[in-house]
């Protein structure tokens, strides 16, 4: 867990602090997304956690220990760090790049080799084709995977990710996000994730911290923030389609009406799987101009989803 207590960063020659008396608590095993317009202090905050930037005042604790008590290089070795531009060493192969931190820890060679191979496979890259290549031979999406693999090399409990998927095309980004979320369910890291994209924040975050001008404006789960934006700034930042965005948080099975065995598949025209997100389900309702969808779990019919169900769900969550 990470605790930020009354953190302020004041750059000399600037009237306003980049980060102003920020307090934040990030529990173990969660993804906390820092989001806000550019220049709001989100990256500065992230970079203070691994002492790439030193705060002017305030204290940061990791697992109860003040980070200023640890040597900065030692501290950084124990925290995964991914940046948007990735920063792979162009003169080192992919395997050598991933092995950087294990080498700093002086792991034996065979242990490093085993771990590197494991990570390349874990990231969904072709082991034989990838390990001996140089960064310039990979696509943007592949490089980003290597960047994430490199940050996870020594299995650090904490990872800091600064717009990690910002530089890849939208399709690759969606893919990387989905895979990373799937991976996170297994590895359960404590992750601080910076983005300027509210949609990415809603998708990735267990908690979202919305920043503006160096201050924390609102902190909460995506659902809380979408349901009760605290002020005009947050409301504008999350967009007027916040109700539709909120649908993203739910899957068909959470909203559907379960059906018994008396209903048959042939009573439906359109089917979706239980894991389908609500916006997709809604889109299909409109596209096929039907009143309800059949919800399938595998091949078996298990529910029915109508426009009314979605509306009821939204209203309930809106608290009206």
């Amino acid at each position: 867990m990470i605790e930020l207590m009354q953190i302020t960063k004041q750059y000399s020659g600037q009237t306003l602090p980049a980060v102003d008396k920020l307090s934040l608590f990030i529990p173990q095993g969660e993804i906390c997304v820092l989001v806000g317009p550019s220049g709001c202090g989100k990256s500065t905050t992230l970079r203070m956690i691994n002492r790439m930037i030193e705060p002017t005042s305030g204290m940061i604790k990791i697992n109860g220990e003040n980070i200023m008590n640890t040597d900065s290089d030692q501290l950084r070795m124990g925290i995964g760090y991914v940046i948007q531009q990735i920063g792979l060493l162009p003169h080192r192969t992919i395997a050598e790049n991933i092995a950087i931190v294990p080498r700093l820890y002086k792991w034996p060679k065979d242990r490093i080799k085993k771990r590197v191979e494991e990570l390349i496979v874990m990231m969904g890259l072709d082991l034989e084709k990838t390990w001996g290549k140089y960064p310039s031979q990979l696509s943007g999406g592949q490089m980003q995977r290597v960047g994430v693999a490199r940050a996870m090399a020594v299995d650090p409990p904490i990872m800091l990710m600064d717009e990690p998927f910002g530089a890849v095309d939208p399709i690759a980004r969606t893919h990387l996000q989905d895979e990373f979320l799937r991976l996170q369910r297994e590895i359960k890291k404590t992750i601080v994730f910076v983005t300027h994209d509210i949609n990415e924040a809603i998708k990735m975050g267990d908690k979202i911290a919305i920043f503006d001008a160096g201050r924390l404006v609102q902190f909460g789960t995506p659902e809380e923030i979408l349901t009760n934006p605290i002020n005009n700034f947050v409301e504008k930042f999350i967009g007027h389609d916040r109700v539709v965005k909120k649908l993203n948080l739910f899957r068909a099975e959470e909203v559907m009406q379960p059906v018994g065995r008396d209903m048959r598949k042939n009573e439906f025209k359109v089917f979706v799987q239980t894991t389908t997100s609500l916006p997709d389900a809604l889109s299909l309702l409109l596209e096929y101009d039907v009143d309800y969808l059949g919800i399938l779990k595998g091949e078996e019919l298990c529910g029915i989803l109508s426009f009314k169900d979605i509306r009821k769900h939204v209203y309930r969550k809106e608290g009206e």
Partner: protein, 218 residues
């Protein structure tokens, strides 16, 4: 001058030619070695401090602008230096300051900031970043500076003949005074061959010294 005159000169003066070439070579070798030992570390240090970098680079530029004949004359006038190798070496090392410091500085400064940021963020110490990242990635530019230094030093060393160096420059200066064309041409030719030869060899080495990952095309 006929080709015969030229060949005659070469065969009759083999001993002197060998001696002058050797002197020329050792002066260049010494000057380049001392320059590397001094200026490469200075260049690396300057990458840590922009204010000092600007000052030192301006100084190096200024020194570089002084014509070599003037520089030798000035040094000879200083009691400790006087005529001879000390002055010659000192002048050559001063001239090497600009190409070496500038290229070491530029080479290191041109390394992608994101690579350094990522390395630092992974907990690499600044010494390790210098050794494993900045120097190898800056090497193409640093090596170019080295190459320029070698060729330039070979040329300027010839002028040191005016302050008592017995090297290939002497053939040219004496040849001019005595209107001895074969002597003049011999000096000019050998110096040129040495300069071009060194540059070619260094060019070949330069290709090998660029890290493999930077040579591979997408």
């Amino acid at each position: 001058m006929t080709l015969k005159d030229f060949i005659n000169f070469l065969t009759k003066n083999t001993g002197t030619i060998m001696e002058y070439s050797k002197n020329h070579f050792t002066l260049v070798l010494l000057a380049v070695t001392i320059s590397l030992v001094i200026w490469v570390p200075v260049g690396l240090l300057l990458t840590k401090n922009d204010k000092w970098a600007a000052r030192v680079l301006t100084l190096a530029n200024t020194i570089f602008c002084i014509p070599s004949l003037s520089m030798f004359a000035i040094l000879v006038a200083i009691p400790y230096f006087g005529l001879g190798r000390k002055s010659a070496l000192f002048a050559l090392v001063l001239y090497a300051m600009m190409p070496l410091i500038r290229n070491v500085y530029d080479g290191v400064k041109n390394v992608d900031r994101n690579v350094i940021e990522a390395a630092k963020g992974m907990g690499m110490s600044s010494g390790r970043i210098m050794r494993e990242i900045l120097v190898p990635l800056g090497m193409p530019i640093i090596f170019t500076g080295f190459r320029i230094t070698v060729v330039m030093t070979t040329g300027i060393a010839a002028i040191a003949t005016y302050i008592g160096e017995r090297n290939l420059g002497r053939f040219i200066s004496e040849g001019l005074v005595r209107s001895n064309t074969p002597m003049m041409v011999t000096g000019a030719l050998i110096i040129s061959v040495i300069a071009i030869g060194l540059d070619t060899i260094l060019g070949a080495i330069e290709k090998r010294i660029v890290p493999r990952g930077l040579r591979i095309n997408r």
